[in-house]
Symmetry: D2
Subunit: 406 residues, 4 copies
């Protein structure tokens, strides 16, 4: 990547082994100043250790930001307005966080006068694409360093060796064990890849999962909750208004406790190969079901169908990293246009992995009219004879074809 | 419906109250001969009583056909190749059966020299449309009698009175009670509408459901099954090859026992109103999940995404009754084109309402290549440096826009 | 249409034979007061005769409105932002005017306390649908009288007889002849149906066309014009700013003089049959070509492609009369989102039926960068080596499939 | 491109300057044996000089193939069944030829035991992608050499110098001048890029065009032709049956003589930049118009609309080089499914750049029924009263929304 000399680089830094090695490597290989950026997007880890480590590594400009509210409000919620699911299963927990982190990297680069950014995503995954597309979209002149595509530390073994040679601590996880999986977490989900997941016929060990109990271990009593929506976004749980991040955290807690939101799937990466991933998305799984339910009551049929047809495209855009693009904004405009009327309450029963919709209502925007749908005689709103003409004209082209062609 | 004198009509006849009244009403109002047609599509009712009643009502031509295999092979399976779901929730159990019944009505009309068909669907629902679009598509000259749109027996009360006046037995259901719900059943599902479902905020009584136990009542031990697919269709359960109808019946049994396949939803009818429906689709729910899983391993990414984008359209066509149409056949051709390689086995764990994919494999057609996806160094199949160019060219249009517009 | 007694009806009234008969018929059959509404949407006819006739027929409330600016600004221009063409050929000149007229009918009904509207569209065409869908969308309680679907004056012969019997003048056209075609005109187009067009193998007589010369009769010298766009809408011709209606009128004049905008086609009506129509849309034909050209310079590739994919759906919505619907508004939001950057100038050469784009530029929003696209060496903006990675990763899924399946 | 040693490479070889330099460069840089492949796809150049030059350059295996029939039959015609147009203007003349050439390269590699292929496409264009995607799809192990991405001869100047230094003749074009444009030709079109086209505001010189006269120079008398279609493909001109390639050649001749098929446009390349291109596609322009016309008569409305919605996607696939992919085959299956009934004759008038449809008929498959569409009373096929119900049920959802929300 002949990009000319780099003077200062902003690194997406977690404080873990990989990005600690990258920090060192950047200082050594590029001989440039490194700014670290550590974001709280709800991954559930302490951030102060990252500050301490960065300081110890000689970093002078250290950014640690709490992005949880922005993450849920401006990324997760807009995505859920579209009922977004990638390939029928994946709720895009990792995908949706990357544009936010990359956007902040670019902002910090501007603030600190850095001419480059760096990230710890590998050369085989989607995250490198998501980071870099966003970065280029927001600053076309930015230089990007992706160490995993440049260095030769391509196995875990080599990485550990480098760490040891450079005095970088290889810590255990908080629970005292080192997970064999490659993981990613934020307020929307936690993901697992690699290790025994590399054989799609093999079920992962039950100790892999971290955010939810197994359905089999969930309480024997169902939990019933009511979710309130305003303009397509969740605004309250059981009548209690909370901030977006607080709402999602609470849904995660409730869902995880009831064994909700696990997914085990084979997905198609944007870079061209299939990969096996496992995900826990407790709150998102509930939110998707509830959002669909409130839409079922308030959304016009044709708008709803058009949303369903556009959704896979939207999901691919998010999965592939095209958040800050004209085409995503175009689809978002269409989606958001429909959500003004998506107001009301959904009642759900949660039980051992199940999310069951058991009621939905909307004082202001319900389009359900029992007096029309009823099997009993209605008051004139619907004239059954109209159906004859409706059917006959819809059938006309088929009848003409039948007549003409026998 | 000024259709001129009708001489003979083929009636879709269940032997129940409604179609018994229609049979009588046709004989009286139209003064025409009635041919009855009763189909076994897996609704789980004895058909011989229908024969006896028709005979008693003076019917001379009585057709009773077992259409279960044709139903699953030529209608259900092709639909599941598309992963069809209407409005995110409904598996189209009723919708998919109607074109088959209408097709058989038209065939019988031809065999018996009838000039008309009749059905017992109401003037407010989707079924009238599905029956009639199919009938017109297959015989553009057919006359159609839809008594619910013609007569004035528009309440259950009036219908019962008519039945009593004409000596038509108003039987109780087999279980000794009369369900307050309007129901429809076939090998794919059983549906419920009306009664307390007319308030979408109210949960139906737990005694409504007939095909499945509640998740709460399902066994505490999971059931694990393996489903084998060939060319996109289910061909075996736990290695045991069965006919299409037998496979679906067995999946229903297993699913129902594990509390799988209940849905409670508000849907948009083709005739223009929203309605609340509850559905039990145990086998279909398992089948959908498993089909997606085997596709995830064997289908090309872009083909899979295109299928996902076309699916909502396909689902609307089935829901609205456009099975025998050029546009459905067009979509089917696209879908079927992809299924040649959809071969392999999916392992599922069923537990209290959950269908969990825990393994998938395909000897012949897996596109999963662990050696490429691995986080460890690979043998040269994938060059991480390629990602740089991939990202940079995908970003180019965004960078140009950024440069040009600041 | 058992709609109860109607007291006052607003009639879309042209003053021609058909609507004069309808006016009389409404007074006689319905015994109700009639309000007439005559709109100037650029059809090129004097409106004052309509006032005189309505007065003579005893009408007390007469509305004559100049809707030309609203028509072009709020209906034609938004539609052209989508590059809308129905079935590859038809620029929707009639379709796009109907929602405006129906909206005004509903407004006048509210102003005059009328409980019904009436129109002169036949029972076989699209216009009845367009009028009535709009009316119902804007006032769900409105009653609608469509005389052509009610009365028995179903041939031109019977209509003339009725007119004579009721003293309604059957005037000749201004040019002293009565066109044998059914025609409709507004600022966007003039259309012809019926008569010798009913055989799609036969070319219409050359004297049918009214707005344009034949290409063969057009000037031997080309005309060059420059069209300026702002936010996707035409704002100036040859640098001269004009109102929307004035711009379209001027484009019609220029285009018609150069033999531009004739179309002869078979289209699919929403009510189910195919029909042959001929159209002259001189200004619209130029506008479409120019709008595409300015978009080609300023629109992002993926936004442009998404627009192209959505366009046929949008066109069907307009053709079918679904202007005032959530789904059209949803698509419009997506389309309009893209047009902020559609600014610049297009130079066109018009010659005997041809509209040739010969230049396009945008000071502010061009995404064209000759330094990147050039075949000569560029200054580093584009690294040719990037293409290798781009291709290799895009090919990866295909290569894996090839390897796995031979 | 660390691909290991290459022993034998098949080069797509025209005998022109660029590929002659490449031939030499391959021999020198790679030290490998070169097989040349020259295809006749209707570019209108003698092929024997290529043989002579290759022989002179020491090539032992020389392939010269006439692919014209395969090109039109298996690539051009299937594409025209979809009415394919890229970005509203471009008929994909270059794009559609590339997969065929790449397929033949791979076949020859297999026949000659070559382990690599090479082509002369630049690193900034679409053609490299089209060649290489096809190659990888058909042989995942093939090695690909793209000299323009490897060498440093990146300006025309350097290339000429290299040629002179290596004794490669730099010939003039047949007309004695060297065109300043980058051109590509085959039976479907000829294209121009570069030079004064790099400013999209500037009109190219009138001497650029080679295949067609300017509309201004075309005959003053129109030419009328009749095109016969069978199953969606052109089979005869004026009743004269010809082979696919002969038909297209004849259409080119007729179209070119009448000034038909020039396009001047800005397009979006797959590699990310906009570029200006000019094209002459005389036969294709006529074919597209005629195919749409015969479809307008014979295709079901919904099938036609679905084709229109899928077309932009299909066009992008062809443009981007994804011909031999599951998703293109999937779309092709859908398209081809509709073409069985696309039979009949279209009459066209060609005049100074205009292609005017003036008649269309189909003995066997017309869906046009004048007796239904007529404005006069019909014989009962269409009941105008049906329209009331049709409209009322289509409006129902809009009315309910109006009632519920005021």
């Amino acid at each position: 990547m002949a990009q000319g000399a780099i003077k200062k680089v902003v690194l997406a830094y977690s404080g873990g082994l990989d990005t600690s090695v990258i920090l060192k490597w950047l200082q050594e290989e590029y001989g440039c100043e490194v700014v670290t950026f550590t974001a709280d997007i709800g991954q559930g880890e302490e951030l102060e250790p990252a500050r301490a480590k960065a300081t110890a590594a000689g970093v002078k400009e250290i950014y640690i930001d709490d992005l949880r509210e922005e993450f849920v409000r401006d990324f997760v919620f807009p995505m859920f307005r579209a009922n977004t699911v990638y390939e029928g299963e994946y709720l895009l927990g990792t995908s949706i966080a990357r544009p936010l982190i990359a956007k902040r990297l670019i902002e910090i680069a501007a603030e600190t006068g850095a001419d480059a950014i760096a990230h710890g995503a590998t050369g085989k995954g989607n995250d490198q694409v998501r980071f870099e597309l966003t970065a280029y979209a927001l600053n076309p002149e930015i230089k990007i360093i992706a160490p995993w595509r440049e260095w030769d530390l391509l196995s875990r073994e080599k990485l550990m060796t480098y760490a040891e040679q450079h005095g970088i601590a290889v810590e255990m996880k908080r629970d005292g064990t080192k997970s064999p999986y490659s993981m990613d977490a934020n307020l929307l989900h936690i993901s697992y890849e690699g290790y025994d997941l590399e054989d799609p016929w093999v079920e992962p060990g039950s100790d892999m999962w971290r955010w939810s109990v197994a359905p089999e271990q969930a309480p024997d009593q169902p939990t019933t909750i009511e979710l309130t929506f305003a303009h397509g976004d969740l605004v309250a749980i059981d009548g209690q208004t909370m901030s977006p991040a607080a709402l999602l955290a609470e849904l995660n807690r409730i869902g995880g406790a009831n064994g909700i939101g696990r997914a085990d799937l084979v997905e198609n990466r944007y870079v061209g190969m299939k990969s096996r991933g496992c995900y826990e998305t407790p709150g998102g799984t509930i939110l998707l079901k509830a959002h669909r339910a409130i839409e079922s009551l308030t959304l016009d049929r044709e708008a709803a169908h058009l949303k369903d047809e556009l959704m896979p495209r939207y999901a691919s855009l998010v999965y592939n990293g095209y958040w800050f693009t004209p085409e995503r904004q175009m689809l978002q405009a269409a989606i958001d246009q429909t959500q003004q009327v998506v107001n009301g309450v959904v009642r759900l029963r949660l039980y051992k992995g199940n999310v069951m919709v058991v009621g939905r209502k909307s004082e202001t925007d319900s389009l359900f009219d029992a007096s029309i749908a009823t099997f009993e005689e209605d008051a004139g709103a619907y004239n059954q004879a109209d159906a004859t003409g409706f059917i006959r004209l819809n059938a006309l082209r088929l009848r003409v074809a039948g007549r003409k062609r026998g």
